[in-house]
């Protein structure tokens, strides 16, 4: 630790830029590398749990691996995982969004109002509904960033405003899918068996790359890890946070639309009030995202959502009542959180 060599008399600053020759890479022992990689890719442990559960339920009940049941699992995983993908970015940047489930309820109604009352073409109606979702995210971000209201409170407020708006405008009644939606559009946007999981995989991959391989992701981590430091480095933290709020909100709206097409009804209960939001946060936490900001993984959150879906589906199949599901969910969150705290301490200590 703390080994520092002396500075050579001529510090070759001038020659450093552009194409420097590749220097010898300091080698590290292979077991330590594997250990570090495992710690770095916390998704691995969740993947093991997901596979373990799959194997267990498959052996416990022959229906688990049937096609209809796999569709069930896929359709239960996808909405949570899609929202979780955006939620991870919000959490990593040090904020939270409690309003996504409400936005999920609002978006299909907006699509319905636009398509049926204003004769907006269905695809445009979907796009506009998503833009309105993004605008709600912008409001969340702007209140949080400019008025310095903690996002927990900001989004709690907008959640109720949005839920209330849904109930008032719909008179708390479901609405049919707009007639202008062709069969092809219906199946693309959630009616067909694999639509959900296809969108989900696409979104998870994009958001995973966004977080790990782009400037936006790097700055999201920087803002959540060291807000002052990131700001001093010239990163516009407000822009990052607002952008992330807008993305998760858009994803929330998109999930609402997928769900509406899947159940073939625009129901005010889509999103379950706060339900799917909490599931998304749970998936993120189980997947290794720290609520304190600065670290998290989209792939982990996807696997977290898969674990939750497997649990609910599998317990249902083998005839355990739905009630203990909450107990198991709670225990899973606690175990993951404790593991997160422990792992990050281990990571920090593991300098040698």
């Amino acid at each position: 630790m703390g080994k520092v060599g002396s500075v050579s008399d001529t510090v070759e600053i001038a020659e450093r830029v552009e194409e420097a020759p590749p220097p010898g890479r300091p080698s590290r022992s292979i077991p330590r590398r594997i250990g570090e990689e495992l710690l770095r890719h916390r998704e691995a442990s969740v993947l093991i749990v997901a596979i373990g559960l799959g194997v267990y339920f498959a052996s416990a009940h022959e229906a688990f691996l049937t096609r209809p049941n796999l569709v069930n699992i896929a359709q239960a995983t996808a909405p949570v995982a899609i929202i979780a993908a955006g939620m991870v970015l919000v959490l990593v940047s040090g904020e939270i969004d409690l309003s996504v489930a409400a936005v999920a309820a609002l978006a299909p109604f907006n699509m319905h109002y636009l398509a049926d009352y204003y004769n907006v073409p269905i695809l445009l109606a979907i796009v506009l509904a998503l833009l309105i979702s993004a605008a709600i995210g912008f409001v969340n971000g702007a209140i949080t960033v400019f008025l310095k209201v903690p996002s927990f409170v900001t989004t709690l407020g907008t959640a109720y405003v949005v839920i209330g708006t849904v109930l008032v405008t719909s008179h708390a009644f479901p609405a049919p899918i707009p007639d202008s939606a062709t069969d092809r559009i219906r199946s693309w946007f959630g009616y067909s068996d694999w639509a959900h999981i296809t969108w989900c995989v696409l979104i998870v991959v994009v958001f995973h790359l966004l977080l790990t391989r782009t400037r936006w992701g790097l700055h999201t981590i920087a803002v959540g890890g060291n807000l002052l430091g990131a700001t001093e480095a010239g990163i516009r933290a407000g822009r990052i946070k607002i952008g992330n709020f807008m993305m998760v909100s858009t994803l929330g709206g998109f999930v609402g639309i997928l769900e509406a097409f899947r159940i073939n009804t625009i129901d005010p209960n889509i999103g379950g009030g706060f339900g799917i939001m909490f599931l998304a946060v749970s998936a993120a936490v189980i997947g290794g995202t720290a609520l304190a900001g600065g670290s998290g993984t989209v792939l982990g959150a996807f696997l977290g959502a898969l674990v939750l879906a497997e649990l609910q589906n599998g317990m249902n199949l083998i005839g355990i009542s739905a009630n203990p599901y909450n107990v198991i969910l709670g225990v899973a969150i606690l175990i993951s959180m404790i593991a997160n705290v422990y792992l990050s301490r281990l990571r920090r200590a593991g300098r040698t």
Binding site: V4, I13, G225, A233, G234
Partner: protein, 266 residues
């Protein structure tokens, strides 16, 4: 290098800078100049306004009054980014490093090399490794997280980052805080090397007068928001500087020298 602009002997000059935060006068009337290639030591007790002054020069705060000249040209520094384009960069007391990111991502923070839309991680790794090697900064590897490094290593990376950014005016805020003697010596050597090359002008803020005298050409003392002392290092001593600060402290204790209101400019 690019310092051939208009040939001004002054890298930086600030005139009558004032800054208030609510009712508190952080800076009353600061006049300061930094010669090209010079290393200026800025000292003063806690609360004297050193950090505020630095944050104004680097664009983090905007002054309420006063003028700033870079290379003899008057400038209004709008933001940290803008200051950077003017060649002003800072190593902060709190380091501005992100623990959760790797060394090379920190080295390139907000100046990332990108092959759109992806980061050019390999290239950043290679350049960061090369640069740290050139500067004699030894760390396990550039792809470890900064959280795993010692305080001295972190400081060295922060300094290396600023130097790498082609800064013409480098502001070092307490660069020797949290440093072992060996690591502190590295930073001082680094400053000497930079001075020899003469391309960078440096302001060092420090508490440790002994170490700062080793590398500085000139010392300024900031008290109650104004520069009250300005001498070449050769003409002053640790003793004199300590006496000045202690005298100020005694005066304050006797209830005199309540400078906030009497000296504050509107």
């Amino acid at each position: 290098m690019a310092g051939d602009g208009n040939g001004s002997a002054e890298a930086l000059r600030v005139e009558h800078i004032a800054k208030r935060f609510g009712g508190v006068t952080a800076l009353a009337d600061v006049n300061l100049r930094l010669g090209r290639g010079e290393v200026l030591g800025l000292i003063g007790d806690n609360g004297a306004g050193k950090s505020t002054l630095i944050k104004i020069i680097c664009g983090f705060h905007q002054p309420d009054a006063g003028r700033i000249f870079v290379d003899g040209q008057e400038v209004t520094i709008r933001s940290v980014d803008h200051a950077r384009t003017l060649g002003i960069d800072t190593v902060y007391q709190d380091l501005a490093l992100v623990n959760e990111l790797t060394v090379y991502h920190n080295m390139f923070l907000n100046r990332e090399l990108v092959r759109w839309p992806m980061l050019s991680n390999r290239r950043m790794q290679r350049l960061a490794r090369q640069h740290l090697e050139d500067m004699g900064v030894r760390i396990p590897d550039v792809d470890v997280e900064v959280a795993k490094l010692s305080g001295g290593q972190r400081q060295a990376i922060a300094v290396a980052r600023s130097v790498y950014s082609d800064a013409k005016i480098l502001l070092l805020d307490e660069p020797l805080a949290a440093m072992g003697a060996k690591e502190g010596a590295l930073i001082l050597d680094l400053v000497r090397d930079l001075k020899e090359r003469g391309e960078v002008s440096i302001i060092i803020i420090a508490h440790n007068y002994g170490q700062i005298l080793e590398v500085c050409d000139r010392i300024n003392l900031l008290q109650h928001g104004s520069i009250t002392f300005d001498k070449p290092t050769a003409e002053t001593s640790v003793q004199e500087l300590t006496d000045l600060v202690v005298a100020e402290y005694r005066a304050a204790r006797l209830g005199r020298g309540q400078a906030t209101d009497t000296r504050g400019r509107g």
